[in-house]
């Protein structure tokens, strides 16, 4: 008997109402962002979802125009949802496990920005390279 012989039953568990609460939270935060420019992050791992609810959330928020991929000790995937300003950020480790998953409400997710320390280091390297090329 192989693994494929074990039948799998896909069920749709009853919703426990987490999605509606979360969508309301997102709407509130987005409104605040529009009014004051205050960005926000919501940690998805801290909320109890059933597996089907999680997929329902993804479907409801949908995908927008922008997808970004980071290669930083494991990948990270960021995409803007169907609602501009609402970003879905997923951080993976090297083995592909999810280590953090967030909804970020802002113009651009914070981690996408180039960090001052990295810019500084990069400048040093660029200068060194130009020095050596002389």
């Amino acid at each position: 008997m192989s693994l494929d012989d074990i039948s799998i039953k896909v069920t749709d568990l009853h919703s426990i109402g987490s999605i509606d609460a979360l969508l309301n939270e997102i709407a509130t935060r987005l409104a605040r962002f529009v009014a004051t420019g205050e960005s926000a992050m919501i940690d998805l791992k801290s909320l109890p979802f059933s597996p089907s609810e999680y997929e329902a959330l993804r479907t409801t928020l949908g995908r927008g125009e922008v997808t970004a991929r980071l290669e930083t000790i494991g990948d990270s995937e960021l995409y803007e949802t169907h609602y501009p300003g609402v970003w879905w950020v997923t951080h993976y480790n090297v083995e592909g496990d999810v280590v953090a998953e967030l909804i970020e409400i802002s113009a651009v997710p914070a981690i996408l920005h180039s960090q001052p320390e990295d810019v500084h280091d990069g400048l040093e390297r660029l200068k060194n390279m130009l020095e050596q090329a002389k």
Binding site: L13, I16, K45, I73, G74, S76, N93, A100, D118, D121
Partner: protein, 363 residues
């Protein structure tokens, strides 16, 4: 031993970008159940921290806790935390061995006296002078007392170090006890679980590094951020429990529909841990989601709490035999006393003085 550099310096040496570090801190924030926006604050603080010395002592253990932590060979976000600390002694992970290793430990303890973090996994046997577990000829008890003296704080990793664990289960032939049963004058944090969730171990270390103090603890000395709630309170199958929909056997219709595993022995209601939210294997799943009830591995005495498959209402001792014996004793007593009382009754009837005509006449 050179002075430990700051975290930022070490990251730079390893060619890890600040952005990567920021991602790492976001993962830390999630693990520690802190608001996700605090990632940048954590990054700023951690960057300045000097790598603390960590000494890890393994006592009467199965090495499962170390295994839980070190599941990969390539650097992962979790393993970065061990790059963040200077692990000056760990007899499974270190390269040195024998007397060299012991010397290195003693040097670290002397140099960072009063400041190093002591991690302990495994229980400490104390029966017969502690001979049942020794390293380099010294008893665990001895090593713990010596190492605890110069430690800033002690982290008891796993249920064995936190509560005594498996060796402590009846009849406890080695006299195994927890760290907190021996050390009374140092802050101790218990990260229980058999093994604990790796993210919890690293989350606690991250908290200590970031804030320089141990997180808020519950009355068992466990960090409330991870052990503040029971599995039952966060279980996604809770609606089924509330509706009384229970799986009766493994793989029956109810089980396939993902119903509650209470009747199959789930100890979720009385177990405090983060399995239902943080989950295992990087958030993949946890025992209940995979169809097996919680065994309560982060609670004291869970090995002695009856079968893992007997539900909570079931007794943990033999009640049927006791009840039968009591019934027999009661029956015998009742028959005996009853016979005596009946005898008294018969006696009373026999010795009853019959009423005569003379009594009625009043003579």
């Amino acid at each position: 031993m050179t002075e430990h550099e700051t975290l930022a310096q070490r990251l730079q040496q390893q060619g890890i970008s600040r952005r990567s570090f920021l991602k790492f801190c976001a993962a830390m924030a999630t693990m520690m159940a802190l608001p996700p926006g605090s990632a940048s604050a954590i990054a700023a603080t951690l960057a300045k921290v000097k790598r603390p010395s960590v000494i890890w002592l393994s006592f009467q253990e199965c090495t499962g806790c170390t295994e839980s932590l070190t599941r990969s060979h390539s650097p992962t976000l979790e393993s970065m935390i061990f790059d963040m600390v200077s692990l000056d002694y760990h007899h499974t992970l270190q390269a040195a061995s024998g007397f060299a290793a012991e010397q290195s430990r003693e040097d670290a303890m002397k140099e960072f006296h009063g400041k190093y973090l002591l991690l302990v996994d495994g229980s400490i046997p104390i029966k017969d002078g502690g001979v049942y577990s020794t390293i380099a000829g010294r008893t665990n008890l001895d090593m713990l007392l010596e190492a605890a003296e110069g430690a800033a704080a002690i982290v008891a990793v796993g249920s064995c170090a936190a509560f005594g664990g498996l060796p402590n289960a009846q009849p406890n032939p080695t006299g195994a006890v927890a760290v907190s049963d021996i050390i009374k004058d140092k802050p101790i944090i218990n990260i229980s679980g058999c093994p604990p969730i790796p993210a919890v171990i690293t989350g606690v270390l991250a908290h200590y590094l970031t804030f320089g103090a141990l997180p808020a603890l519950d009355d068992q000395g466990r960090p409330k951020a991870f052990y503040g709630e029971t599995i039952h309170d966060r279980c996604y199958r809770r609606p089924f429990y509330d509706q009384g929909k229970f799986a009766k056997t493994f793989d029956d219709e109810g089980a396939r529909n993902g119903w509650c595993l209470y009747e199959l022995g789930c100890k979720g209601p009385t177990t405090h841990n983060a399995c239902a939210t943080t989950k295992w294997n990087g958030g993949t799943s946890f025992p209940i989601e995979s169809g097996h009830g919680c065994i309560g591995c982060s609670e004291p005495k869970f090995w002695d709490a009856g079968s893992f498959y007997a539900p909570l209402p079931a007794p943990t001792a033999d009640v049927s035999t006791v009840a039968k014996a009591a019934a027999v004793v009661g029956a015998v007593a009742a028959v005996t006393v009853g016979a005596i009382d009946r005898g008294k009754k018969t006696q009373a009837q026999k010795s009853r003085e019959k009423l005569t005509v003379d009594d009625l006449k009043g003579e």
